[in-house]
Symmetry: C2
Subunit: 151 residues, 2 copies
DNA sequence: CAAGATTGACTGCTCAATCTTT
DNA sequence: AAAGATTGAGCAGTCAATCTTG
């Protein structure tokens, strides 16, 4: 290793894995976001919120749970929920057991839009991602990411 | 497949691979960005610009090449380069062959900061990512991402 | 005082329009 | 007219401060 830096740099394989993760994520989320916006006027982050709510019992979740789920700060989620409520896709409902808390609850309109958007999105995920990796790679991803995403 | 949707949903393995990619990317970039900001006052995207310039011949690149490299829009890069120039980490230099174009050129100050930041960043990438995947997974990532990031 | 949620001030990015040079 | 780069307007997110309830 004939260089003067005090840290050893990444080798080609390490670099391919790390920068590949960055570039792949950027390319996929950009393409999927554009697709969803084009077809349904719904940005990817809004889709994610509707996805969590649609899958949750009674179509509702607490604001902070939802923030954790969609990987947003509390305040970021507050503003996103504002926009979705203004669009009539969800409603805020006070929490009975704890008057400090609120639920975000998906509306019928929100569910209807989500059902349509889901077709676009899943077909995009299959076309751009799942169909382009092997069975072994899919397994490898699931296991490695499951370990990496925590901590 | 006894459900009423017109698209079949993702199975557990597909979901683990896809959502795992999203969550892992978010967790890693957040942690690395915070680390770099804390240690050197340098956000991750600024670091990426300095990285490309430091590795480029004569420490310089055209604005549009650089934008492609760091995965930013042209205008986004213009503004980022504004900030880095204001901080004295790089300079804009007119392009002789094509008077429409500009180079971003890393300064000595930029190089010095980058050398320090690189130690922090590489050790973070190793600690949070590379050291937590197996040799086989690293190979798998390199190959799969190389295929996915294009197109 | 701590926890859930929102607000204010700000940063960083995008798209569309524009300016300059080829 | 097309390409390189910047500017204007606006959106979406963050952190720190605040309000309300436990």
């Amino acid at each position: 290793m004939n260089n003067y830096s005090t840290v050893s740099l990444l080798n080609a394989e390490e670099l391919a894995a790390w920068r590949g993760l960055l570039r792949t994520h950027a390319a996929l989320t950009r393409a999927l976001d554009a697709e969803l916006l084009e077809a349904h006027g719904l940005p990817l982050t809004s889709y994610e919120v509707l996805l969590f709510l649609a899958d949750a019992p009674e179509g509702r979740m607490r604001m902070s749970e939802l923030a954790d789920g969609v990987l947003l700060s509390r305040s970021g989620l507050t503003r996103l929920v504002d926009r979705l409520a203004r669009a009539g896709l969800l409603e805020r409902v006070r929490c009975d057991e704890d008057a400090r808390g609120w639920f975000a609850v998906i509306t019928d309109k929100g569910r209807a839009l989500f059902e349509q958007a889901r077709e676009t999105h899943l077909s995009g995920v299959r076309r751009l991602f799942l169909s382009r990796i092997t069975d072994a790679e899919r397994e490898c991803f699931g296991e490695a990411f499951g370990r990496l995403e925590t901590g």
